[in-house]
Symmetry: C2
Subunit: 215 residues, 2 copies
DNA sequence: ACGTATTCTGACGTTTCGTCAGATTCACGG
DNA sequence: CCGTGAATCTGACGAAACGTCAGAATACGT
């Protein structure tokens, strides 16, 4: 067994102390802020350095480039997403309540961390292995819980056997990962956040339990 | 009515001739190729220029930056996507056939143009107005057709009135726009392309017509 | 206060950006 | 076939960002 720790490292590999941890954190916060304000394509190392009032060289002590910093931000998110999926552990047979809570939480999460999540998905889709790894950790618990719900519904004869559990779970994840990005467009046409949550909750509920969409 | 043409323009506003159109096209092709090979974050003007064996200044005659070139690529795609949605005009009451064809075509489209589509969605999600405009043109026909199918199913009592037609249509679009990006992961775990198509077709069919997922 | 390890940065060579004046190429009339 | 003007392309350049490193500044234990 190789010795591993979760100590934070500088780019040269050394374990960093308290002062450095603070600097590292300020770099990450500044990166997240710039990512939100401008797009992923125009966050420059020099801008981050300017925001925290440090030399660009300081940035390079902790991250090899902006993408690397975003990867660290995404990695941090994995921890905080895990609490959302607790809703899957409840008994869904009673109705839509848990589905609604789940969708609401997921939407809130996207509202807060959209800029980072978008880059994570883009780079993972573009086959960057590091981001794929993070995406996997991020998706895996959701996928596992949804897949088992689908299988259960299939065993009970409420979902057709032609449905692939992984694909169905992935589809629901797709809905939750993309729909938040359409909120502004929806609202312009009169679809409220609540209507969106209700609809997604029903699609989720139906797809995972086999319940009809007719009411 | 102001005079408008669809002539191609250089960055200085002049209408361009045949030779220039060819150069412009070579720039776009090179950009698309680099986008596929590397990610969106690391396509440089100078790389595009090198590929077509031209000076960087030539690039700037037609596009203000790489993003601008990708926008042009995305705009071109709007034309070719419109043929896919013909499947919506058929009568779906007979079964899954048209849904399957639609999903298959959409997946093929993503396989071919994924790199450009990903940037379009990212930049639109990041609230860039130009990309939002393209995304709207790209989505609008699909949305309209799906919304009307949902409304029809609601009128017939096959879909609950609590379902928001726009949100439901958007959700299905979300599935089709994100699931292609998971194909590689799916296949590693034994979910074939065919199983994915079949599952998405069933979800689509169920969500738009109210048919049960139980088979 | 001193010595040492940690952290930060000024300074610099390199790469890319983005512009412009002038060179090159092309179409066409003579 | 040549000359001419319009269209297109590019060499050259200043500005900006990258990325590295030696040494300066800082914090910390004793």
């Amino acid at each position: 067994m190789s010795e591993t720790t979760d100590d934070l490292l500088a780019t040269d590999g050394r374990v960093i102390g308290q002062r450095a941890q603070l600097t590292r954190r300020r770099i990450l916060d500044a990166t997240a802020a710039l990512l939100r304000e401008h797009g992923a394509l125009e966050v420059k190392v020099i801008d981050v350095a300017r925001v925290i009032d440090a030399s660009p060289a300081t940035f390079y002590q902790y991250f090899s480039d902006v993408e690397d910093a975003i990867l660290a931000l995404a990695t941090d998110l994995v921890r905080s997403v895990s609490s959302i999926q607790e809703q899957f552990d409840r008994d869904w047979s009673g109705g839509l309540e848990h589905a609604r809570t789940l969708v609401t939480d997921y939407l809130d999460f996207w509202d807060e961390h959209g800029p980072v999540l978008r880059v994570m998905l883009l780079r993972a889709d573009e086959k960057d292995e590091r981001f794929r790894q993070v995406r996997r950790e991020y998706n895996a618990p959701f996928m596992a819980k949804m897949v088992s719900k689908v299988r259960a519904a299939q065993s009970a004869g409420r979902l057709a056997p032609e449905i692939d559990p992984e694909a169905a779970a992935g589809a629901m994840l797709a809905v939750m990962d993309r729909l938040p990005n359409y909120r502004q467009g929806f609202e312009k046409r009169g679809t409220t956040r609540e209507a969106m949550i209700e609809t997604v909750a029903r699609l989720l509920y139906s797809s995972l339990t086999g319940a009809p969409l007719s009411g």
